[in-house]
Structures are given as structure tokens and as C-alpha cells.
Symmetry: C2
């Protein structure tokens, strides 16, 4: 399966519209800490190493994720390896001991809404960046990517999104710092 | 608490003696995979990064462990950070993606016996190295290390161990290869 995902800039009106019209699946607080590699510049190699801590309904989940470089020029498809971890603080200490250091922590509140079978709308309120909407779906083959992208773009338009964004929140935050 | 540990060479007689005389706490199969760092030679810095997979009674447990360099010349005291992991294969894939590569896997059958309050005798049958006995205990302060070492040495002597070994199994296996 291939994850197809589009992201656009949002505002209060778009958030209100989605909240009224679609069913909330989950609301969570996410803290994503990105690390840099001691002998490989991830921003150059288009890789990422992340510890994500999610909090929702009094629960707590954490994951270690490696993201490989984008596999082609068109889509956002990447190789991604994610493992659940039980102690993110200790895990971070191991990474630090190995020479990795924190680049930045991206903090956001994420709300996921059910749009239609297989399609999810995500409202992200990102600290320091503001409001974004993501729509995503899964397809089985590469030929299905283009029609899926078209459909997702139509959904974003229909809820009022006019400007898309391909860069990650990390890239946007680092860019904004420069 | 400080872990005080002594290791010595064993043989069938020593194993039989311990098995007859002391109570078996646990028998497990351990696979320790050691990784090297892409820009730091762990054998020079006296560090180690390890994934340990334990199998016992049909159960399965895995841990990621970082071991810092020995903190002094006398004891084997090290800074150690260990976290449980749920998917060692995926975790290893992340390490590989980050540039780490496997140095060696140390495979052993480990039996732990209760000797006395706070003292454990471990029988290790290490693939490629043979039989070893470890005795360990915990002490609260540095002044207690020396008497503890003396007591542990006495225990090893009493079960027939004549030759001690300070090097790790990894070091012994790598040395044997050279």
C-alpha cells in the first residue's frame, strides 16, 4: 500500500467547517523530537530520525521512526520504519550517548476526522507555524496515485483550502529560523 | 547501587556442581547483537551498543542497551542505559539505516542460580567460547566493592573456578578472530 497525502494551509473557518461536518476519530497532543546524525547531514540526505510522543484520553504512546529519502520526484513516498518504544526519555539518552543530538521538537495538537471510507482529514495546530489540514488515503499501485491526488485536492478545495504545502513541519520551522 | 561481578572459566564439573547444589532461577537463550558506530570506534572508546533477545519458557523479551566506558581502572562499573523494545528486527533496521552495522552476535545459554540473599551464580555456555561462571552482587557504596569482590572470589574458588576473566564475551570472540 502507498500512502498518498496532501497538506494545505488552514484557518479558523476551515477548522470550524471540518469540526462541524465530519466525525472526530481522535484528538491527540504530539511532541516530535528530531535528531541529527553525527556524521550524516539529514537535511542534505532527506532523511529523518524522530521520537514521537502521543498523548490522548489520558493514554501515552511513543514511537521511534526513521524516514528514508523520498523515492521519487512526484510523490511524498518514503521508506519509513517505525517501532513502538516504552521509555522515550531513556531512548533519547541512548541516542545522545551515541552522538545524536536534538535538532528541534515539533509540538502540535492533531485532530483526525473520518471523511469517507479510507480517507482521513487531519487538522494540525502546530506551535510556531499555525493551522494546517492534511488529507490522506492509501492506494495499492502507482497508477492510482494520480487520481487519488486529484480527489484529495478536490476535498481540500471543498473545505476552503487554497494553498498547498509539500514541506514538512520540521523543514518549515527550520526554514523560518534562517 | 553498584553491580559487582566476577567471571571465571568453567567446565562440565563446575556446571554439574552448581546445578546440583543451588536452586535454578531461570534458564534462557540469549542472542546479543553488537553494533559499531559509523564515526566512533567503540572498541577504542570502550563503549557498546547491543540488542539482546532473550527467550525463556516460550516467552520472548528484547532490549536495546548502551554501555558507556568503564568509569575507573579497578572495577567493571559502567554507565548503562537499557530500554525494552518490542520489535528487535525493525529496531535493527533503523540502526542499519542510520549507518550502524553489526559487529558480531554473541549467542549463549544462560542459567541463573540462587546462591544466597543478593548473590546470583550464572552459568554461561557461549557459542564459540565455551563455559563460564559469573557471580554477582549489588553494593551500596564504593567501600563495599573490595570486600564484595573478595567474597565473590571465594565463592568462585569454592565451586572450582581457578582462572578469572575480565574481558567481555565480545572482546574474547573478537580477540580470538584476530
Amino acid at each position: 500500500m502507498i500512502e498518498v497525502e496532501l497538506k494545505g494551509y488552514a484557518n479558523d473557518d476551515i477548522f470550524d467547517h471540518v469540526r462541524e461536518k465530519f466525525k472526530l476519530m481522535r484528538r491527540e497532543y504530539q511532541e516530535d523530537t528530531y535528531f541529527s546524525h553525527p556524521c550524516r547531514d539529514f537535511s542534505e540526505t532527506d532523511e529523518a530520525l524522530r521520537i514521537r510522543v502521543k498523548k490522548f484520553n489520558g493514554h501515552f504512546e511513543a514511537f521511534l521512526t526513521y524516514k528514508g529519502p523520498k523515492l521519487d520526484q512526484e510523490s511524498k513516498t518514503r521508506r519509513e520504519i517505525e517501532v513502538p518504544i516504552t521509555d522515550p526519555d531513556e531512548h533519547e539518552q541512548i541516542l545522545n550517548s551515541l552522538g545524536f543530538h536534538e535538532v528541534m521538537t515539533v509540538v502540535k495538537v492533531r485532530e483526525k476526522y473520518y471523511y469517507d471510507k479510507g480517507i482521513v482529514i487531519t487538522l494540525d495546530n502546530v506551535e510556531g507555524l499555525g493551522k494546517f489540514v492534511e488529507v490522506e488515503t492509501l492506494v495499492e499501485s502507482e497508477e492510482e496515485i494520480e487520481p487519488a491526488v486529484k480527489r484529495l485536492r478536490g476535498i481540500l478545495n471543498s473545505i476552503g483550502v487554497t494553498k498547498l504545502e509539500r514541506r514538512s513541519y520540521l523543514e518549515l520551522l527550520l526554514g523560518g529560523k534562517g
